[in-house]
């Protein structure tokens, strides 16, 4: 719900309730005022009437809108409303009953006073009041709406600027200075926050690159020294083997470092430039790179592309994503030696035969999680795939059944 709708709704409901209650209260208080006015008139008429009535001829007394009734006992003075039918119309009257005692006989005298005039007056007053209220309400409603909208304009501007703001791009967040204190404050807080974020992000990016530099150079020194030693003629077989292992381990360390830096870069949204391309083209290119490995391992590859799928993402990340999935399928294959790849319905699916997992299936995308049988694998390829899918909000899933392992990427 928009802020302006919300504020209008509150305003409308508050005023409607207020006017409803107010109108009812007003109706009754106006009526009350008119009733007491009528009561006074009736009391004045009573005084006049008491002088007019002849004590001997009470029962035959006649005056307009006056009735005399003989009673057994004494009655009390009271006011009430009553309705008479005159020419088939209901007419509302105010009635005063008072006791009249003469010669030991009790009478009740009723004086009637028509309320028609006052009734019309009340109706007119109520209508006028409601009309005024409606006009008042409408004016207030539009003035309120306009002013809120005007105030919010700066606020919406801030929101749209925030939407455009991207840490990765080199744009700075420049919020307009507002006149309203609260929005001014909001803008300055956001501005401060964005500046800090931007600075931290730059530092982090620099840090990633520095880590790479700082770690790779010592590794290069180790690797070069091992290589140098390996060329000596007077080494025993065992020493040679140790050196070869050292070289391999150093190389592994360096690969791992590179892979972690790559993962950090993905998570930091370092790769932002995207382009549109066909998934099947990309897949074929990547498969070419593995052609020899697949042939050498005698793996049966089944490829089924039903729909040409266009995706929009960073090309380098797309290559890495597909490459890692294919590599995973080759490295972890077993004696059944099969890989099948389907592209269909905006979905990429790769299935390979392979031994049962030695860990729970939901840990498959965790970093450094790898099978016991394949110690050489770095255990980082699938986390790269996961990071890339998370970056683009692709749905990545995995399931295994009967020694078949399937990875599915559902593109948006």
């Amino acid at each position: 719900m928009k802020l302006i709708t919300k504020s209008s709704l509150t305003f409308i409901s508050a005023t409607v309730i207020f006017f409803l209650i107010g109108s009812v209260i007003m109706y009754f208080s106006v009526r009350n005022i008119f009733s007491s006015n009528l009561n006074d008139i009736l009391l004045e008429r009573k005084v006049v009437l008491e002088k007019q009535i002849e004590p001997d001829n009470v029962e035959r007394f006649y005056a307009k809108e006056v009735f005399v009734t003989k009673l057994e006992s004494e009655c009390v003075l009271s006011f009430s409303d009553t309705v008479l039918i005159e020419q088939e119309k209901y007419v509302l009257y105010r009635k005063l009953d008072f006791p009249y005692k003469v010669k030991g006989k009790n009478y009740k005298v009723s004086i009637l006073e028509s309320q028609t005039k006052t009734d019309v007056l009340i109706t007119k007053i109520v209508i006028m009041n409601v009309g005024l209220a409606v006009v008042f309400f409408l004016i207030l409603f539009f003035v309120n709406r306009h002013s809120v909208r005007n105030t919010l304009k700066v606020f919406y501007k801030t929101i749209s600027k925030l939407e455009e703001f991207d840490l990765n791009n080199n744009n700075e967040l420049n919020l307009d200075s507002a006149q309203l204190f609260e929005i001014k404050k909001l803008n300055s807080v956001i501005q401060k926050m964005a500046d800090t974020l931007k600075r931290d992000f730059e530092v982090q990016k620099e840090y990633t690159e520095n880590v790479s530099h700082e770690l790779q150079t010592p590794l290069a020194v180790i690797s070069s020294k091992v290589d140098q030693m390996m060329q000596s003629d007077n080494l025993s077989q065992q020493q040679m083997e140790h050196l070869a292992l050292l070289m391999e381990t150093t190389n592994r360390l360096s690969k791992m470092n590179q892979a972690l830096i790559f993962l950090t870069k993905i998570d930091n949204r370092f790769y932002t430039e995207g382009s549109a391309f066909d998934l099947d083209q990309l897949l074929k290119q990547q498969l070419e790179l593995f052609e020899e490995s697949i042939k050498q391992k005698q793996i049966k590859l089944e490829l089924q592309i039903e729909d040409p799928t266009h995706i929009y993402m960073n090309r380098y990340l797309a290559e890495s994503m597909i490459n890692n999935l294919i590599r995973n399928a080759i490295v972890h294959n077993n004696d059944t030696k099969s890989i099948s790849i389907f592209i269909k319905n905006n979905t990429f699916r790769i299935t390979n035969s392979g031994e049962e997992l030695s860990f729970p299936a939901d840990k498959i995308f965790h970093r450094f999680k790898r099978s016991e049988t394949n110690k050489k694998s770095l255990g980082i390829g699938l986390s790269v795939v996961k990071s890339i899918c998370e970056l683009y909000q692709f749905n990545l899933s995995y399931f295994t059944k009967n020694k078949l392992h399937t990875f599915i990427i559902k593109f948006k």
């Binding site: 690159e209 790479s212 530099h213 700082e214 770690l215 790779q216 150079t217 590794l219 290069a220 020194v221 180790i222 690797s223 070069s224 020294k225 290589d227 140098q228 390996m230 060329q231 077989q237 040679m240 083997e241 050196l243 070869a244 070289m247 391999e248 150093t250 190389n251 592994r252 360096s254 690969k255 590179q258 892979a259 830096i261 790559f262 790179l289 020899e292 490995s293 050498q296 391992k297 380098y316 490459n323 890692n324 590599r327 080759i330 490295v331 394949n374 050489k376 694998s377 770095l378 980082i380 390829g381």
Partner: protein, 229 residues
């Protein structure tokens, strides 16, 4: 006249520079080492270099500025960037400025050696375009191998393996080095060992069929060595 090729090494990590010098001297290069841009500029002014290895993160600036200097002095100087920064942008920047190759740290000397030799062959007009080892001749540009006047029928992978070996004669090349070379820098492990073994086996078979001496020897448990002496 001294026929040795002269290489400029600009590297601020002294130990790495020392190993590199040691290695290159073993391979009959002469080396000049500097660790700053300022001193490198002086060297470029006064000497002729066949190739230069440039580190990018130097104490007094980015090594990229040296590319232009080197190329202005002599177009035939091969420039190889050796950097820990493995980012695409850096590579593109370097290549656009005129660098001929880009090597990411850590690298294997065998790889460096192969690349320097290939660069010198490519850039120097007078340089011989073929490598001759007794009865074996390799023509890198035509991707052709001749043994006893007969052309060997090699796949491109086998050819590049042979060229790699020929560039690194009499050196032990471990399986790690060969695996890295074959997989051309792909980041994960797991299947290059077998692949290397298969390719080398096929290469050796094809060469010996044509009567070639068995230069590629297996170093048990370690890797291979191309032995000519």
């Amino acid at each position: 006249m001294d026929n040795k090729k002269h290489i400029l090494i600009v590297e601020d990590e002294v130990e790495l520079a020392l190993s590199t010098i040691h290695f290159l001297q073993d391979n009959h290069f002469t080396c000049t080492h500097t660790s700053t841009i300022q001193s490198a500029l002086k060297e470029i002014k006064n000497n002729h270099f066949h190739a230069a290895l440039l580190d990018l993160g130097l104490p007094d600036g980015d090594g990229l500025v040296l590319i232009k200097e080197l190329k202005n002095k002599n177009q035939e100087t091969g420039v190889i960037i050796v950097s820990a920064k493995d980012t695409l942008n850096k590579k593109i920047d370097a290549l656009e400025l005129g660098a001929d190759d880009y090597l990411t740290k850590p690298f294997f000397f065998a790889e460096l050696n192969a690349r320097i030799k290939s660069l010198i062959r490519r850039l120097n007009v007078e340089e011989s375009k073929k490598i001759v080892i007794n009865e074996l001749s390799i023509y890198p540009e035509e991707m052709k191998v001749v043994v006893h006047d007969k052309v060997a029928d090699l796949t491109s992978k086998e050819f590049s393996l042979l060229l790699y070996f020929a560039s690194n004669q009499n050196r032990v090349l471990s399986k790690t080095i060969l695996g890295e070379f074959m997989s051309s820098g792909y980041d994960d492990y797991g299947f290059s060992d077998d692949l290397v073994y298969t390719h080398i086996k096929n290469l050796k078979k094809k060469l010996s069929k044509l009567g070639c001496t068995e230069y590629i020897k297996n170093v048990y448990g370690i890797g291979y060595k191309f032995i000519t002496n």
